[in-house]
Symmetry: C2
């Protein structure tokens, strides 16, 4: 069966977002520092519809993380809101042509009709839990891997349930001091990991893990 892969940027002190996340600043204060390594890369700009950019040791890592992925699962906060959605619901952070270009399944408590965007991205809202969202994503992925998009809360649920097969931490050498921790709310779940690769790149070190080994 195709795997569930999870990529996330994390500070050296374990934060995946800064403090005081809000609709205006979903990354939290200082959280943008966790993503600066990626923003100038050609491999990042291309799926976002922008030309040019840098090529460095992160390029191969990013291309690999975007490759062979047939569907994405994410939490409601990463889509852009909590619901209830109302009559004229917001379509999230991602604009008319989101960078996913594949089916995306949102874990939420609030039902909503699917949203179809340009460029192959569809947002489908799943209200009966993380396993169900993963099942739907697997079916849509048609043999390719499923990517877990975050944020921290939904990632913790998948980690705790033992459903992630491969995790890649993009470790950014900053100390945020506060914010949302990745390894939190796990209630003592046994998580067994094995590092399979480390790549040092400008502003980031990419650590890949097999989970559950």
């Amino acid at each position: 069966m195709a795997g569930l892969r999870f990529d996330i940027s994390m500070s050296l002190d374990g934060f995946v977002a800064g403090p005081n996340q809000s609709e205006e600043n979903p990354l939290g204060e200082g959280g943008i520092q966790l993503h600066e390594w990626a923003l100038e890369l050609a491999a990042w700009r291309r799926p976002h519809g922008e030309a040019g950019g840098e090529v460095n040791a992160s390029t191969e890592v990013v291309e690999e993380s975007l490759g062979n992925v047939g569907a994405t699962v994410m939490g409601r906060n990463m889509f852009g809101g909590e619901g209830p959605w109302g009559d004229d619901p917001w379509d999230g952070w991602w604009g008319d042509d989101p960078p996913f270009h594949m089916p995306v399944f949102i874990v939420t408590h609030h039902a909503r009709e699917p949203v179809i965007k340009e460029g192959g991205t569809t947002f489908t809202f799943v209200t009966d839990g993380i396993e169900s969202a993963l099942e739907e994503a697997r079916a849509a992925a048609a043999g390719k891997d499923v990517a877990l998009g975050g944020g921290a809360n939904v990632a913790q649920q998948y980690l705790k349930a033992g459903l992630i097969d491969e995790m890649q931490l993009h470790v950014v050498p900053v100390v945020l001091g506060a914010g949302a921790r990745l390894f939190d709310n796990l209630d003592g779940a046994e998580i067994s990991l094995k590092c399979t690769r480390a790549v040092v790149a400008p502003g980031v070190t990419h650590l890949r893990f097999r989970v559950g080994e």
Copy 2:
């Protein structure tokens, strides 16, 4: 000037010791997991007076971290106690022939005569702060580097003061969930780091950083 180098094992969730550290269990509950990668290595057993052991990708990292070091600084807890020392003071965790084989300077509030051990290890107690302990260690190191031995509390003081030149985190892929965090009590100090090397080895990934760049 020779540098101050700091090596420490850390869990994926940022802990350098488990919860409930005590004189009986200085590593805290579950803390031994952070050190298992090292215990069977020949490069670790040798300075501890034991023959045999494994050779793997960690060997070179450990040999390098022990090489070109002329003196060590550590906190009172890592030595083995807080003081006041009394008339018949305990000599710490380290036995008659400690693995350091060099001058060691203990940051403490309680004065005490130096303790001279077998194999070249001396313990000198410094009561006037971390800068003073580092100065004494630099003089004793005679041009070689100084190693900062830990634990977390004294490491945080040196990090906050910007006195560490090179840090190596031995990242162990376990989630402890509780304990002593390395990047804590830093009071928002700006800490600037650059990863210069990553080595994947059995049970650990070694990340080396230049500090203050």
